[in-house]
Amino acid sequence: MNNERRQFLRETGKFLVLTASASVAWEAVLAGRPETAPNYKTADHWWGMVIDIESCIGCGNCVRACKEENDVPRTPTYFRTWVERYRVEPDDLEHPAVDSPNGGFDGFNDRAAADPTAKHFFVPKLCNHCAHSPCVQVCPVGATFESPDGVVLVDKTYCLGCRYCVQACPYGCRFIDPRTNTADKCTLCYHRITKGLTTACCETCPTGARQLGDLKDPKDAIHTFLREHHVLVLKPQMATGAKVYYNGLDGSVR
């Protein structure tokens, strides 16, 4: 083999190897990146939500709006947000009676269940967009990730469907979408909030029980709310850095 040919083969080989590794590397870089929107800088935001238990009337608007906006399967075992109804005997915090028929999608119309000796309230639930998410920690390929603006998202083109994240979420916020066989969860309506809108659930809540807040925006009303109310997150013992703050949360809520 003459030298020129050898040189050509060597250069071509180098080119092919480098291009291939660059494309693999680029794919890895792209995985775990939120979608971009014009005029939106992820570094300028840190999203959370406040939920006022006293204001929730259990109408189910949020559940319906979420399913509609985000094309969530209608089956009663797949929810990005749902509403639970609690009935607690005043002296027995450890044994609340809880139900959530169809996740509260159809509202709660059976008034017969009301019992004047007990307290009743609704608890809307959604992904807590934890700052130290157990679900993000366990994902074997990094398909689920915390975006720089504090939203836990899933890259559906990368998810293996191993379901480890579903097991790791202490709040039951994740499911596997049977149509894509990948993990699915609340995105805090990322496609809306990056365009300056609020989430579908907050938008449709008739009593303002759910309020999206930008913790990095000093003018956001969330700061006043958090300062003036005694708020709690769900399962604080899990130390997940949950960013959904509940006002008036009863000790019986799990």
Binding site: P96, P134, V138, P140, R163
Partner: protein, 396 residues
């Protein structure tokens, strides 16, 4: 979409009603455990020079390999996107316990097991290569990597490297299965799983199941070949099985007593589950049939003088019961851990499917596959040929 919901008692978070991990994920720790246990039994002979278990040395290695080859298959079959599984190697998320599986697995398969088997069999492979013709000759040639140097120096070197590998192999086997326990034990969201004891319990139950499996494989192959059982070997294995089982059972009881005494927020829910939905698989099958009965049988052999025939029967029944018990233990961990709500207010149920991707049929096929592989391996690499150490070849 027609959807039949599982039977729920009390309250589950809506997304929890359907189980995420099926019988396939039960098989994964069960099969991996057999690998680790079989290897540790093999190591006993090699590293600690336990002469009595020599007849099972090669058989244990081949058993470990046959099961290890099958170990990732249930996971692969379970994935929503099996075609993406390679991403675990290419772009692993280093914080994830599961992401490390691929690396631990490859290390164990290629560096430890395949290399150790190859070194141990190299002389046999070369001799078979010389003696065979046609495609078989090519196969053995490839297995020998077309190197036919079986001079005394080369064999002595093989032996030295093999011994070193076994020494590395023991912690690797511990790593392989301790790690599987960690996958469950590190999930803080799930109190049934979340305990630092999980990797240790998994490890010892792995050793127990591996020893029992090799003992049974030895008995079946000896019976098949119409050979006399080496009773010294069986007695020694039976003794090891008993010791390992005592440690395993103590650890599991420690976990249980700790949970009962501490009685934290999850206790009432878990206690109820064990007394109802898990009663048969946990109390009856795992603890009574799969642990106490074989332990009593093995203890009886230690305590009383018995004839060979009775001892053989005891080992066979204790081995089978042990495997049933360890399988039940995996079942109770994996399935049990998903039957209760993380709200501790309710329970769901697991209805096993049959001829679906995650049903009983593929699970049974996956459980039989290692035995088919083992049969092929035994055919290619007969473990009971007289070894070079016995014939004195290469003893220099």
């Amino acid at each position: 979409m027609e959807h039949v919901l599982p039977a729920v008692q009390g309250f589950m978070y809506p997304n929890e009603v359907e189980l995420q991990w099926s019988i396939l994920i039960v098989l994964y720790p069960f099969i991996t455990g057999l690998v680790a246990g079989a290897f540790i039994l093999a190591s006993l002979e090699r590293v600690f020079n336990v002469e009595a278990v020599k007849p099972t040395y090669r058989l244990a290695l081949l058993t470990a390999l046959a099961f290890l080859l099958v170990a990732p298959l249930p996971l692969q079959l379970h994935l929503g996107h099996p075609e993406r599984s390679l991403e675990m190697y290419l772009t692993p998320h280093t914080e994830s316990a599961m992401a490390m599986f691929g690396f631990v697995y490859l290390w164990y398969l290629m560096v430890v097991l395949v290399l150790e088997i190859w070194l141990d069999y190299r002389q046999d492979i070369v001799l078979a290569w010389r003696a065979s013709s046609g495609p078989k000759r090519w196969l053995y040639g490839a297995m020998a990597l077309w190197s036919d140097n079986i001079g005394p120096e080369a064999l002595a070197l093989d032996d030295r490297i093999g011994r070193a590998l076994t020494v590395i192999g023991i912690p690797s086997a511990f790593l392989l299965h301790g790690y599987v326990g960690f996958i469950f034990g590190s999930i803080k969201a799930n109190p049934w799983w979340s305990t630092p004891l999980m990797p240790i319990v998994f490890l010892f139950s792995a050793i127990v199941s591996g020893i029992a499996a090799v003992m049974l494989v030895y008995m079946v192959t000896a019976w098949w070949r119409e050979r006399r059982f080496d009773m010294a070997c069986l007695d020694t294995i039976g003794r090891y099985l008993f010791y390992a089982f005592v440690i395993d059972f103590s650890l599991e009881m420690l976990d249980l007593i700790h949970r009962i005494y501490e009685a934290d927020e999850s206790f009432r829910a878990l206690d109820f589950m064990v007394k109802t939905r898990l009663f048969t698989s946990q109390v009856v099958v795992q603890i009574i049939l799969g642990t106490l009965v074989p332990l009593a049988l093995l203890a009886a052999v230690q305590l009383f003088k018995m004839t060979e025939k009775i001892r053989r029967r005891i080992y066979a029944s204790a081995g089978v019961l042990t495997l049933v018990g360890i399988f039940a233990m995996r079942w109770n961990v994996v399935i049990g851990g998903q039957l209760f709500s993380k709200s501790f207010l309710g329970y769901t149920s697991y209805k096993m499917e049959f001829a679906t991707r995650e049903g009983l049929l593929p699970a049974a096929a996956l459980m039989l596959l290692p035995f088919a592989i083992l049969a092929v391996l035994i055919h290619l690499l007969p473990p009971w040929k007289t070894t070079r150490r016995e014939t004195g070849v290469g003893a220099a």
